[in-house]
């Protein structure tokens, strides 16, 4: 779940990261009042969940409250990336000497959070990592052990920073890491982390994403920020296909059969099982396949629910075949999924033998499931066939 900059600023501010004095406004008069109370020159920033604000004219500077009023009026009416701003953030303008980057993300390969630091801030860290990798340093840290600030000192020192600057920056990164762990974040980023003319450091722009599953645990924080449960804060609004997928999933309490994400490929995916969806999706792409969707099934969904999901996927224009692949299942019945998928294919007006590229779900009640698949002439694979191989076969069939 994405946070607006003003929310990320509040979260990091609570964690002890130094942030600029300021406030948010939804009207130009309010912006002028905040600018007056902040005093001096201010920067006004559109609050949208989208990048490219500067280029789009969503960031402006103002020397007086009247200029702030005019800038806010412009920004509040400005659509950026298809979004109207939630509000405008007014921060005091800082005398910047140098810009750095500090971030914490989760490294899914190492299964640990990783702190990233660069002495080239203010630009995309991906760009820095590609063009100037020697200016990017990383360090993993534990989610169980207490945070050890020396690790962040080593991180910052590895780019040749020492003395008071080293102490200040590493302390800020330690606080960023603490916020990352405390608030269940998947991203906590300060860019730029600015060194001011007086030598102090301040977060000039920050970005935080919260793990979707952490929302319940973090409900007090979200309430404090005024973020309602109905606010999904996804990277983009759900498509009609995705909304209908969620409706299918919500239609019956039994199991999961929905959570679809739409793509523009030709191979429909009925996939799942304990992270299996991601593995299978990657395998399909690795073998040159073009998935039409991502989805998750599991937990023994009803026949009706699986049927409706299958029909939804087959209703998507351009879907030539579907693949039904899961890891070895223990809490989902193979025969029930087989019934649902075959029923969905038939009710969509297709022949299961033609439309199902491969069915590879081994596990609970598989003998009964295989009888069903044989009856309808569906090509299936048992547990001796790895998921990756099943994915390859599905891709080959679509290509053929």
């Amino acid at each position: 779940m994405r946070f607006y900059e003003f929310e990320a600023k509040a979260l990091l501010g609570q964690a002890g990261v130094p942030v600029a004095k300021g406030g948010t406004a939804t009207t130009s008069d309010e912006a002028a009042r905040i600018a007056a109370s902040v005093g001096g020159e201010v920067v006004l920033k559109s609050q949208v969940l989208s990048g490219g604000r500067m280029k789009a004219g969503g960031v402006k500077f103002a020397a007086t409250p009247d200029e702030a009023r005019a800038a806010a009026e412009h920004i509040l009416k400005l659509e950026i990336g298809g979004q109207m701003p939630r509000c405008v953030l007014i921060d005091s303008k800082q005398p910047v000497k140098k810009e750095y980057y500090a971030g914490v993300i989760y490294d899914a390969v190492a299964k640990l959070p990783v702190a990233i630091f660069s002495d080239m801030g203010g630009i995309d860290i991906e760009e820095v990592a590609e063009k100037n990798p020697e200016h990017v340093a990383r360090v993993h840290f534990s989610t169980f052990q207490p945070l050890q600030e020396f690790k962040f000192k080593e991180l910052v020192a590895s780019l040749g920073i020492s003395g008071n600057e080293l102490n200040q920056i590493s302390r800020i990164i330690a606080r960023l890491a603490k916020a990352f762990l405390t608030y269940g974040l998947t991203l906590a980023e300060i860019n730029p982390l600015a060194q001011l003319e007086d030598g102090s450091f301040i977060a000039l722009d920050s970005h935080c994403d919260m793990e979707e599953e952490a929302r319940e645990q973090q409900s007090a924080v979200l309430d404090e920020l005024g973020i309602g449960r109905e606010e999904t804060r996804l990277a983009r609004p759900p498509t009609e296909f995705e909304i209908r997928g969620a409706e299918v999933d919500a239609s019956d309490h039994r199991g999961v059969a929905g959570r679809v994400v739409e793509f523009d490929g030709n191979l429909g995916c009925v996939i799942g099982a304990g992270g299996g969806s991601l593995t299978i999706f990657d395998a399909l792409r690795k073998h040159g396949g073009k998935p039409a969707n991502y989805c998750e099934i599991g937990g023994n969904p009803s026949v009706k629910k699986t049927c409706e999901l299958t029909k939804l996927i087959l209703s998507k224009p351009g879907v030539e075949k579907i693949c039904v692949i899961m890891n070895v299942v223990s809490n989902t019945r193979v025969d029930i999924v087989a019934r649902g998928v075959i029923k969905g294919v038939i009710e969509s007006g297709y022949d299961p033998a033609e439309k199902i590229a491969i069915f590879r779900i081994p596990g609970s009640w598989e003998e009964e499931g295989y009888k069903i698949l044989e009856k309808f002439g569906v090509d299936y694979a048992d547990r001796t066939v790895p998921m990756s191989e099943a994915a390859r076969r599905a891709v080959e069939k679509v290509k053929a």
Binding site: S302, R339, I372
Partner: protein, 86 residues
Amino acid sequence: MTQASGSGMFIRVEVDEPVASDAAAAKQLAGVCPVDIFEASESGVTIVDKNLDECILCGLCLAVGPAGAVRVAKLYDAGALLVAAV
């Protein structure tokens, strides 16, 4: 003599007399079925067609009434009858 029956794409269920028209047996059938294939009324049992394919082959319904009075056939397996667990 079959009194109540219904077929889905995968499952067929039949209930013979006198179980089918017995209100108490109908209530039992409706009570034991985890996927609501049976609906009970004073006049007996009705098969809910839309739920037939949800049958999880638990066999609980087979124990209602005399042996063989309730039958669950697997249409995908040449009509093989579900056998009651001992």
